[in-house]
């Protein structure tokens, strides 16, 4: 095993941190959330990220992308998670790119991936349906007249909405949903938009076929990316907390000298280090040993879920009353963590999948 970052990855991480520090400070995030021109702030960030090539990081060079792998993306997404950027990069640069490359015909890839890589086309994918839970085998095998997809990330601002449908048995397809109805479903995580999208079956333009296993692999890659974002945001919460408890004084001393406080901070770090390992491991598996993807993705997501929620909660606790205020960003991190916990499989779902894989159930 080798988890060290190479030179390019260190550069990617450092430049991303610097870029996001300038372009997406808390004030900018707040402008997106509160101001009338909020969408403009998100769009401005997207253009600048596109200039850096991020939307095409995973897209293969055949389709004018950077042709990098999940490990590189994980390194980047730790930083984008730390900055709580909106969901477009995740939806378009990871979910849609993975789905198209896994299932769409070469012709369709040729048609859409170059524009996605360039950031000109913001794509997203609807997979889950009401009642399917997190299990693609539970998708309706027969679409009926109208197809409804739930939890579609960034559906409101997407230029291209893709549906991944089950076609019966183990079969699946990817299709463009034309003239779709996009309805906001307000998530606890206000930094990310989620939609319910409906499309009539005769407006679906099929781009390719695949299997339910392909669908699960696309979800697993997205889960690894989301886990990377969660570990990045957890690390940021710990940084904020360490700074705060060093300076906040009670009983004539910094609260960070109190052992009860110190030990919670230590637990936050332990969770983050373990979680980061899970993410790097799963990302390396996605790049090099895709046959083992399912279990590795579950390791990463289960750990990241647990770390992010507990770090988010402890961060608020250690800030006292201030941590409970709307002004502090801590609640945004906790809400991100909580919403992400229930995206692409909650902890229980992933543990059950591992148990099944180990022959325990």
């Amino acid at each position: 095993m080798d988890f060290s970052l190479n030179e390019e990855q260190v550069l990617l991480r450092d430049s991303a941190r610097e870029f996001l520090g300038e372009e997406w400070p808390s004030a900018e995030l707040r402008r997106m959330l509160d101001a009338a021109d909020g969408a403009a702030a998100a769009q401005a960030l997207w253009s600048k990220m596109s200039d850096l090539g991020w939307p095409g990081l995973l897209v293969s060079e055949d389709y004018d992308g950077l042709g990098l792998g999940m490990f590189d993306l994980a390194v980047l997404m730790e930083e984008t998670g730390a900055a709580l950027i909106p969901g477009t990069l995740h939806a378009s640069g990871l979910l849609a790119v993975s789905a198209l490359e896994a299932m769409a015909t070469q012709e369709s890839c040729q048609k859409y991936l170059p524009d996605i890589a360039e950031g000109k086309l913001k794509a997203t994918v609807g997979i889950y349906e009401p009642g399917s839970g997190w299990t693609p085998m539970m998708l309706a095998p027969d679409a009926g007249e109208v197809v409804t997809k739930r939890y579609v990330p960034d559906g409101a601002s997407a230029d291209l909405i893709l549906f991944v449908n089950r076609t019966g048995g183990n079969g699946a397809q990817i299709a463009i949903a034309h003239e779709a109805q996009v309805e906001d479903i307000y998530s606890m995580d206000v930094t990310r938009s989620l939609s319910q999208v409906t499309c009539s079956a005769d407006k679906l333009e099929v781009l390719g076929e695949g299997t339910i296993a392909d669908v699960q692999a696309v979800i697993d890659r997205a889960a690894i990316g989301l886990s990377a974002e969660l570990i990045g945001s957890s690390a940021r919460v710990l940084d904020m907390t360490v700074e705060y408890v060093k300076s906040r004084k009670q009983f004539g001393r910094a609260v960070g000298t109190f052992q009860a406080v110190q030990h919670k901070a230590a637990d936050m770090l332990i969770g983050i280090e373990k979680g980061r390992t899970g993410v790097y491991y799963a990302a390396a598996v996605a790049d090099e040993r895709p046959d083992d993807l399912a279990r590795a993705a579950s390791v990463a997501k289960a750990t990241a879920n647990q770390t992010a929620v507990s770090v988010g909660e402890l961060g608020i606790q250690l800030h006292g009353g201030l941590g409970f205020t709307w002004e502090q960003d801590l609640h945004l991190y906790l809400k991100r963590a909580k919403a992400a916990e229930f995206t692409y499989g909650d902890t229980k779902w992933h543990l059950d999948r591992i148990a099944h894989g180990l022959g325990l159930s």
Binding site: H263, T277, Y281, A355, S361
Partner: protein, 396 residues
């Protein structure tokens, strides 16, 4: 660049090692000192010990990668524990870091070959977590120090040839400034060892009494009154090596757990299955964290993996025992000091559920794991180390 695959050289190393372990791993009772010494000597002679130690002292001069491969393969083959673990994990690495050339030449080869077993005399009745309170006195007397005092919880002291000792040489200096590190021959006149029975019934550790014991000054490691720094360096190495070695045992334990639950007649209930899956997730992440953080583990960050490992192993043992159902607490009378009690934990042969020592091995594991969050620094102390030394929180 591949991250998961061995390089061709690593793969060859792994192959050779695996073949050797398959042919040579013995089944040994954990109280069979002679057999355990012979096993360690054999490992050493075949070139599988001291992988990262310098070649001039009997080591292999290899990198951490090879050590990690060794750990993985050792777990897979379920090899017996190293009888000289204190020498290999604590005294040896400390000598490599701070010992003189003469000390390294004299002691390191025999640590590797298990010809000389080591123990570590740091803790005292009144100096545990607060180690700087230690009182064992060393009085300057010409070419010797004369030592009087007591150490406690000294693992392997009953079988040890040497003790890696911290003593007070200057009682008037500030606490941290009057401590010195020594190597002491356990056969010196005036050294007495008494076993201490543990909650498992065994006596892995004991008390060591020093009554005017003469120790040549040549046995001093580092300068007089420099012992605190040396002790701290010993600790970071102890925790680093412990974490790495422990991740091996974690893997062994997890595999054992899997074997046992797969062989059950009654399937696990969903909650138990989830607990096992959670243990898989955590042990996987922890083992790989040791590899990921390898280059930082000789610093304070070793505490991160030590604390996580202690809790993980404690949880794993709890789960293992719980899978036995109503028979979980039976058949042992709570003591495990008879030869053969936990024998078959080692060697490739797995215990099966009907086996009497099978239930005992989980009981033993459960009880022994209570020490994990005490030995090598309590988890409370280590969390403070993480907060203050890694995260930079203020001490006052």
């Amino acid at each position: 660049m591949t991250r998961l695959q061995d390089t061709p050289a690593e793969a060859a190393f792994r192959d050779r090692l695996r073949t050797w372990l398959e042919a040579n791993t013995p089944k040994i009772g954990k109280h069979d000192v002679a057999a355990l010494k012979a096993w360690q000597r054999k490992l050493h002679e075949a070139g599988w010990l001291g992988l990262t130690w310098p070649a001039e002292y009997g080591g292999q001069g290899l990198g951490f990668r090879e050590q990690a491969i060794f750990n993985e393969e050792a777990a897979r083959a379920r090899i017996p524990p190293n009888i000289n673990n204190i020498g290999l994990m604590i005294a040896g690495p400390a000598l490599i870091a701070v010992g003189s050339e003469a000390h390294k030449k004299r002691y390191l080869p025999k640590i590797l070959s298990a010809e000389e077993i080591w123990c570590q005399g740091f803790s005292e009745p009144n100096a545990g977590s607060d180690l700087a309170a230690l009182q064992t006195r060393a009085v300057d007397d010409g070419d010797d120090y004369v030592i009087t005092g007591q150490k406690i919880w000294t693992s392997n002291s009953l079988i040890a040839d040497y003790i890696w000792l911290l003593v007070r040489t200057d009682p008037n200096a500030p606490r941290h400034k009057g401590i010195t590190a020594l190597v002491v021959d356990m056969k010196s006149p005036g050294v007495t060892v008494k076993p201490l029975r543990q909650i498992t019934g065994e006596a892995e550790f004991g008390e060591v009494f020093f009554d005017e014991v003469r120790v040549p000054k040549a046995n001093r490691v580092g300068a007089e009154n420099d012992g605190w720094i040396i002790g701290m360096k010993t600790f970071t190495r102890e925790r680093a090596n412990l974490s790495v070695a422990l991740s091996v045992r974690l893997q062994q334990q997890f595999d054992r757990l899997l074997d046992s639950v797969r062989n059950r007649d009654v399937p696990l209930d969903p909650q138990q299955a989830r607990e096992v899956a959670q243990a898989y997730v955590d042990s996987q992440c922890l083992t790989l964290t040791c590899e990921r953080m390898a280059d930082r583990l000789f610093g304070f960050e070793s505490s991160v993996v030590k604390v996580a490992w202690a809790e993980m192993n404690q949880r794993l043992q709890r789960i293992g025992l719980s899978t036995l159902g109503p028979d979980a607490p039976l058949l042992s009378a709570g003591a495990f000091d008879q030869v053969g009690d936990t024998t078959a934990t080692f060697g490739t042969e797995a215990l099966s559920e009907g086996d009497e020592s099978y239930a005992k091995s989980w009981q033993f594991g459960y009880l022994r794991a209570r020490a994990n969050s005490i030995e090598g620094g309590t988890s409370e102390i280590l969390r403070s180390v993480i907060a203050e030394r890694v995260l930079g929180l203020p001490r006052k």
